[in-house]
Symmetry: C2
Subunit: 344 residues, 2 copies
């Protein structure tokens, strides 16, 4: 290397060094992690998308996974509590399906280790898809001739089982990721990807302590093995007006899943990705304003009163965690020729 | 033209003449007709698809046009009666949206002249989307900042009106057509497009007299101007077991729309296209078997008892009227950033 080239290299290294390096800030991986026994394949994703969109397995034929986790929206349904069969409503806000693949446990209370386990839950929930036994739903899948070739392709012959249906849905959900947000671009070095206010909000977010829980690529805590949940007590500081106003302590959280008093009011830390598109907020959907939600969190989790500017800057930063969403082609749901499976 | 060319032309004409020519059999046009004041444009179709898929305008935020007219299925919902907000059900079977553009009037009773008029109906139906006044639904559209540019593009500035929203939905629906079914290919000269049984069924269909109502490219009667409906009394022959078994006379049909006794039990003749995918059948969804539906129609409309072979052949022929369906990319529904419009 001659002197001129050496100088060039030194300048290049200096330029790299002067690029923003944020300790702890991580971009979202381009591919979601999958458990060893269910590697993501195109065939599973194709089948899983069909099952995810198909309402015919619900007791009324009206509720699909997509009904409450609408991928045309923020991966949820804009409601406080989702509305399942016969207009029934549940007791917790539907979490977004977008980037759910980056959670190491599923549901607000972490009662499922994997998306494969989660996928089965709503089917037999009486206020969601309302089927009595999950095999009844699977019987409907098996009764649709057009599904068989897709199971064959994804899992081999004679593979139309609940386990494989859930694996397929999980594989599809692992494609529902948004790794190219302004924040991701910024972290990767594109300093123009976020606005000055968003950068300021990013600093405020960390300085306030939000990153003590909302860390990592999905802003849902440190990377953990599947089945190992990252939980926080909510509210941690209960002695304030917000707790009463939004009835935050009524839900016992993980205690309702484990029966252990030690788990009272413990909730899985949710991802903040695409949070601008997932109002209303919290496990009980009680706050329909992201600005208010930020103030509530600062007070109930960190016992801090943020200034208006701090809140607005954080909200601006959170906006940098949204989208873009990948294009999804509607699946064609295999028909039952000349009769309907839906009898309710 | 020299002798050789003349011979070639004669042979060509002879070949054309020897191709199957079915008097009265028509292929579906490649483009659906549109009213003069709403020519179909890409910008309207793009906007209309979004509005068609968006559940947020319903009172519960759970019911979109696509909920009951699911384009991933047969353009309906596989149910006897659709389920709208709060699990409420209506009193008539949801007609398919596929090829609805080829109906000269809309709804079972023809109470809307155009898709533009039809689109507004379910929004304020208390058992469908459940909004009190249609302007309330439109207020929600107007409250979503991301919709404005799409209205601008489709209709010009300051165009966010109910009339334009309905026009956009209608424009999208005019793209929901299936002009490339085996039947269409067959009629256009591809003799291998239908099976021998389907061809036999086609002949039986005509010989039985089904074509007296189910004629034309969409099998819903002769081509008529928008607003001019083609109606038939159902059942025409009421003195048979089917009438009682399936409660066919309970619904007064068009009389309920016009108040005229002369319209009692008159129904718009529905399209038969994609009928294999639209069970259960009839205005009251009372028959969940296409084979039975064919027998019922022959008896109640033509007072004929068909043999098993005749019925099976006709059902096979009806299968040739199905699909293929065009690919639809899911729209991304514009978000409301940091809050939800859905409050119910």
């Amino acid at each position: 290397m001659n002197n001129k080239n050496l100088m060039g290299a030194v300048v290049a290294v200096m330029m790299l060094s002067s690029m923003p390096v944020f300790a702890g800030w991580e971009a979202l991986p381009e591919v979601a992690p999958a458990p060893e026994d269910n590697p993501t394949t195109d065939a599973k994703v194709t089948l899983g998308k069909m099952l995810f969109m198909d309402p015919r397995f619900s007791s009324t034929g009206t509720v699909s996974c997509n009904s409450c986790h609408n991928v045309m929206e923020g991966g949820d349904d804009s409601r406080t509590f989702s509305m399942g069969v016969h207009g029934k409503t549940g007791g917790r806000n539907a979490p977004t399906v977008w980037n759910s693949a980056f959670h190491s446990v599923q549901f607000w209370d972490g009662r499922a280790d994997l998306l494969e386990d989660q996928a089965k839950g709503p089917v037999t929930n009486p206020v969601e898809m309302g089927v009595t036994e999950i095999e009844q739903a699977m019987d409907k899948v098996r009764a649709i001739p057009g599904y068989a070739p897709y199971f064959d392709e994804a899992f081999g012959k004679d593979s139309m089982t609940v386990v494989n249906a859930a694996k397929a849905v999980a594989a599809f959900e692992r494609t529902l990721i948004t790794p190219d947000s302004p924040y991701d671009k910024y972290v990767k070095g594109d300093k123009k990807a976020m606005t000055a206010q968003q950068v300021s909000g990013m600093e405020t977010f960390a300085a306030t302590g939000c990153t003590s829980c909302h860390s990592g690529a999905a802003f849902n805590g440190p990377k953990m093995e599947f089945g190992q949940g990252f939980y926080t007590k909510f509210p941690t500081f209960a002695d304030n007006g917000y707790n009463k106003k939004y009835d935050l302590s009524a839900d016992k959280g993980r205690e309702e899943a484990t029966g252990k008093v030690a788990d009272a009011h413990m909730f899985r830390v949710p991802t903040l990705r695409n949070i601008t598109d997932t109002a209303p907020y919290f496990h009980n959907g009680s706050v329909n304003d992201l600005t208010e939600a930020v103030s509530v969190m600062a007070k109930t989790q960190l016992n801090k009163d943020l200034s208006d500017k701090e809140v607005k800057d954080i909200v601006a930063f959170l906006g940098a965690l949204t989208g873009p969403y990948p294009e999804i082609v509607m699946p064609r749901l295999p028909a039952t020729s000349g009769y309907s499976l839906v009898v309710d």
